[in-house]
């Protein structure tokens, strides 16, 4: 293929990625809500409820509780950073036009930027609950982010490259060996923390902190944060699928993608089930839990280095 159509294709893929995530993320959120409700013997909201929520919030009054720039900037940065992550993500093995401009380290730091934006907003909002939430959010981030990175690291070790396509899709699943199996288990155990759901929704903790970092946000600002959370959730649910489940290589990109999305939906089912059946951890318990996961993941990396 000549470079021009390839570039065009790449740009199309960036847009396709964004559309895919923006369109599906609220739906997946709906699945979780429905599953949780069913487990708790409730009817639950319709699957499209998260779309309605976003639309409604976008039209509601935007209340600014502080009048300073960081408060208004935070939701924008959070949402934008997540869009960037999605734009560089090689979904179903296809590198987008932006993938060659960011490596695994950039990806991790971009994800961090979203977290920073949430914290910035929380700190700016002059509310004690927001500060407590921010403190917990940051603590969780310190503990969880390394685990995410170590999952990616498996790919880095096998391919000797930090290029995202190589890291995520460069190794056949069998190539990971048993350290790979350990890492799958670790990523499943860390899943709830990645997506900030029970038992690790410590930062938002509606019952005790009334939404934590987001307490002062309303209207479109809150909608952006909500959307950011949903996108982040979808990214984290999709990542283990992309890393560890082989593409079916049907020859059709759409078919590969559809299978992966189906599997992602299954991950969301799991998230819903876990959320509904687990009570929230205290932050100190969560830290110990993550510490154990961290050590296990580090051992898996160590094993992958040696073998």
């Amino acid at each position: 293929m000549s470079p021009m159509p390839e570039l065009l294709m790449g740009i199309l893929l960036v847009i396709a990625n964004l559309v895919l995530f923006l369109a599906l993320a609220p739906f997946f959120d709906g699945i979780v809500r429905r599953v949780m409700a069913r487990v708790q013997s409730r009817q639950g909201p319709p699957l499209a409820q998260s779309y309605y929520d976003l639309l409604k919030l976008l039209g509601k009054e935007n209340i600014d509780s502080t009048g300073i720039l960081p408060f208004r900037l935070a939701p924008l940065v959070a949402f934008a950073s997540m869009l960037c992550v999605i734009a560089i993500l090689p979904v179903a093995g296809r590198a987008t036009a932006l993938t060659p401009y960011a490596d695994a380290i950039s990806l991790v730091y971009l994800l961090t930027l979203g977290g920073v934006a949430v914290l910035l907003g929380a700190f700016a909002s002059k509310n004690i609950y927001a500060l407590i939430g921010a403190s917990r959010e940051m603590t969780t981030m310190i503990m969880v982010e390394p685990i995410l990175f170590m999952i990616l690291m498996m790919g880095v070790l096998k391919t000797g490259s930090l290029d995202l396509t190589a890291v995520i899709y460069g190794t056949p699943s069998a190539g990971f060996g048993w350290p790979g199996v350990v890492m799958i288990v670790v990523s499943l155990f860390a899943l709830q923390a990645f997506v900030a759901r029970q038992p690790f929704d410590i930062a938002e903790a509606e019952q005790e902190l009334l939404g934590g970092p987001f307490i002062e946000y309303s209207g479109p600002n809150y909608a952006l944060f909500k959307y950011y959370m949903m996108l982040k959730q979808m990214f984290y649910a999709y990542l283990p699928i992309a890393m560890f489940v082989p593409l079916i290589h049907s020859g059709y990109f759409i078919a590969d993608l559809a299978v992966q999305m189906l599997l992602t939906a299954l991950v969301f089912l799991l998230i819903g089930l876990l959320s509904a059946t687990h009570p929230r951890y205290r932050i100190d318990q969560a830290i110990r839990y993550f510490a154990v996961l961290f050590v296990i993941a580090l051992c898996a990396i160590g094993a992958a280095v040696i073998f």
């Binding site: 910035l120 700190f123 004690i128 940051m138 990175f149 690291m153 490259s161 479109p220 280095v305």
Partner: protein, 620 residues
Amino acid sequence: MDFNIYNGLMMGVLLLVASAIVIPLFARHRKLAGGLNFVVCLVAGVIFTGVACQVLTGAAAPATFDLHLGGWAVPLMIDGVSAVFMALISLMAAVTAFYCVGYMEMDHYRHYSLRGFFFCYPVFVAGMIGIVTVDDLTTGFTIAWQMMTIASFFLIRFDHHDKVIVRSANKYLLLMELAWVAILAVGLMVPGCTWGSSLHQIAGQLGLVDPGLRTLLLALTLLGFGMKAGMFPLGQLWLPDAHSVAPSPISAMLSGVMIKTGIYGILRTLFWMTPDNMPTQELQHWGMVVALVGVVTLFIGTSQAVKQVDAKRLHAYSSIGQIGYIIMAIGCARYFLGPEVGLHALALLALFGALCHTLNHAVFKGLLFLCTGSVQYTTGTKDLDKLGGLFGLMPVTAVVAGIAAIAVSGVPAFSGFTSKWAIVGSALLSGKAVGIFVIFGIIALVTSAMTLATYVKFYGMTFTSVGVEWNEKNDIHEVSASMLAPKLLLAAVCLVQGLFPFLFVQLFGRVLATSESAMTRVLGTPEMLSSLAQSYAGVTFRLGDSPVAFSLPLVMIAMLVVALLFALWLRKAGGAEERTAPVWLCGYQTLNSANRYLSSHIFDAFKKFTKWTGGNVRGA
């Protein structure tokens, strides 16, 4: 030409020394003296930078030069590495001198004479320039080290009515003299070397001695320079105390550039003082040890920084952490330069990261200290428990501090990112060849999340959130333009460093071309340099033919801007109205100092979890 650069060096140093004698005479007129001090530092800085440019644009490493002072010969050497440090010292010295003019007007300092201050400041700068240009461990080194140490000792104890400050300063002096003794001992213990032996001679002799003695001598040198750089556990002994009690511009100098002379020393020790005939395995062991020390330093330093409540102590501990990154990179590079040719490119990446981070850290940490200084100037405190909500009151300082805080956290497209990317990347990409470095890389990455936590807390508790309303001082306002200008300049430098890392690649190429050692011979070849491909958008690192790591801040920032615009559109899309309304506090309509969430409460669980790393603050 060679004569010229040493002439320039001498001229600059003499100018600084002369001003140290003249300016104190005007110390009664505080602003005039400050202004003169700035002019002298600027002129000397321009001279030094001119020398540095001449060296860096040269074809090869300039010849060394023996300076004769009475009966003593002092070997001098200005090569590419020295030139970079000289330029850095000049920049920070001039900017900080300008800041001093306004800062020393602070109410608290009104009753202190500035005579000593303006005597010590230029001597301090001259001493640092000396350290990075002398080429021995004895005569010249002693002169430069003592100028630097004693002058900085008096600068640290400027506020000498406070016993705690005097004690911190004394401790600093004692430890620095110990470091001096260690390094001087090495210079004299090497067989066949005496006062005024150049590093080259020392290296030659070290190649002949018994490996046991060689190990001891190298260890002593590293210990001495490590003490200055803030290496674990030596840094913890003096650095947080000294940096937090000095006047803020002096803290900026200490953290920004003085501890970098320790890095300079470590670099010289590992790559210049090691003889060519030393077994590569022994060298690799040194690399491993230094990298390990670096990892421990960066982890412990940063985890201690998270716990701090005093803003300047927080910056000081974080300096230890950031120095750890540089030490780790230097150690990794030393290791990678072993027999395996495949790893040499990674050494290039690691050293590039070390150089980048040295320059970046100097600017953003200097900036952070200056911002904290401004906060202290106007509010009278640096206690994070008492600060908060300054964004509305001092917006310019807040934005500038925001840039620095983002840079130190390594957010993409800001200056800490590319350097940390290079350091972490080089460790991770070693992969199966050196498994332990992968673990180091992961720890470094964990630590950068902790750095982020540290600076989120610092920024949140100083500029956003609430608290300063209940401070004892009520007339809080933005500082004067003369104190803002240096910060704005540094912020601009910081942004440029972040957005255009290709400048560093070019600089690094010049440094390699204009220095002379076994390392530069290996890494300075065009084939090797081509593995760090550069374009205006950023840096790409290649192993073999394929690019394996990329840091492209310009693309990143463009992407973020487009996404931000989309987000902005989405926010407006619903046509929602905006309104400002005060926070609803469940009936406690007026928030006050008694019911707020303090800095010492933040990350409580995490602080308990990392209690074993030390640096705990009582009651926090």
